[in-house]
Symmetry: C2
Subunit: 241 residues, 2 copies
């Protein structure tokens, strides 16, 4: 089995490096300045598309363009596994654009270089079969479980609904608080230190990921509306005193 | 030296218990249902006011009433140390209401039963001399340092300004997120778990503390305005895409 990672941004670099502990991994990025991590061979796009299993680690907003670009150049029975932080949108695109002889699994590793710093144990990873054999789904599911992840089979719509009110709201709060430009403080309480950790962690991720999380998850708009309603309710309680 | 703790709510109970590891501590609450922790003698108000050093652990909004109630009944040279989470307001009240022969130190132990669960080490404690001898200020400052706290001498205005944008914003975010009624989730990311910890910790404190933090700190209104402006700015960036 030969493994390729398409996209070597912050997450792709991390992902290729992680997989290279267990597999022979090749990496490619459309950006010539992106390097592959040590242990991963940087190849050209043609060679990358020749691998049996290809993880897509491109931004959500780049998915359509990338799928149209690679769809006709994949070998029959190539397994494509996306890693997008939203699922309904890329799952629909993959089913629509990728040729019928290409296999597809949707996945969302719900962690990254920051949150996995202390190890992978118990970190959540969502998987959903779209067009694949049970055998290959089980293989990857077992592999991810084997390296310590908490693998959950969840359909794209359920994922997006739940992720909007967990990951989505966390990134939203993180970006809002970052905009306030809060500082480290000598009188920081334990809770405030946690708030700063959320800011640091969410803002280490690319701005594009934040935008895409808020834009391509159909439930984040509802999350933001509900959050703003909660602010209004709390403000009314304060004002009525 | 005899020590009294006036007020046995969530914080007063915690504080009396903490001090009783080192001193003989008596406790009183206006609420007859409030019990003293093990090791602390529950006394009546008259006996409590007979102690040399009295920590006030009443809610910020009860300070004026309590000071008027006890002011004329204190022995000369009694040392009053408040523990309010805002400082300008109670410092002004104490100086105005307490008789001139009563000594006063303003303090804010910036932790509570939740945040001190893993020990006191490095937790911040603000102190400010209002009407006292250097010797007694140093005694208490050294004592709190000796049990592991990070004691900082900070004037009430600086405290309130900085606390609004650290403790104040954390409690505000905690209450807003709590209003959203978010749930534990199987797909919780590391950041989301931190957000839930903030909610749990801030909402374990009494609702009255939240209200008082937002109401009696002159800088929290500015903090909320700035936070709402940040939300507007982030929303505009999202809407402009």
């Amino acid at each position: 089995m030969s493994i390729g990672v398409y996209g070597l941004g912050r997450f792709g670099f991390f992902w290729a490096k992680l997989l290279s502990r267990y597999f022979n991994v090749k990496g490619f990025s459309r950006n010539p300045e992106r390097e592959a991590p040590p242990g991963v061979k940087r190849v050209d796009e043609h060679e990358l598309l020749d691998q049996n299993v290809i993880f897509l680690c491109v931004s959500i907003s780049a998915m359509e363009e990338v799928l149209r670009r690679i769809g006709g150049r994949l070998k029959p029975d190539t397994l494509i596994i996306d890693t997008c932080s939203v699922k309904v949108y890329p799952a629909g695109l993959m089913e629509e654009i990728l040729p019928g002889n290409v296999r597809i699994i949707a996945s969302h590793p719900m962690f990254g270089p920051d949150s996995a710093r202390d190890g992978l144990n118990g970190l959540p990873m969502i998987m959903w079969p779209l067009r694949n054999s049970d055998r290959e789904f089980d293989f990857w599911s077992d592999f991810f479980k084997g390296i310590g992840l908490k693998v959950l089979k969840m359909d794209p719509d359920s994922h997006d609904r739940e992720a909007a009110f967990t990951q989505g709201i966390t990134h939203y709060i993180g970006r809002v608080i970052a905009d306030l430009d809060l500082k480290e403080s000598e009188i920081a309480t334990v809770g405030y230190r946690k708030l700063l950790e959320i800011v640091a962690q969410t803002c280490n991720d690319p701005w594009q990921l934040f935008i895409d999380l808020q834009h391509f998850n159909p439930y984040t708009a509802i999350m933001r509306e509900k959050l703003h309603s909660s602010i209004d309710r709390i403000m009314k309680k304060l004002d009525s005193l």
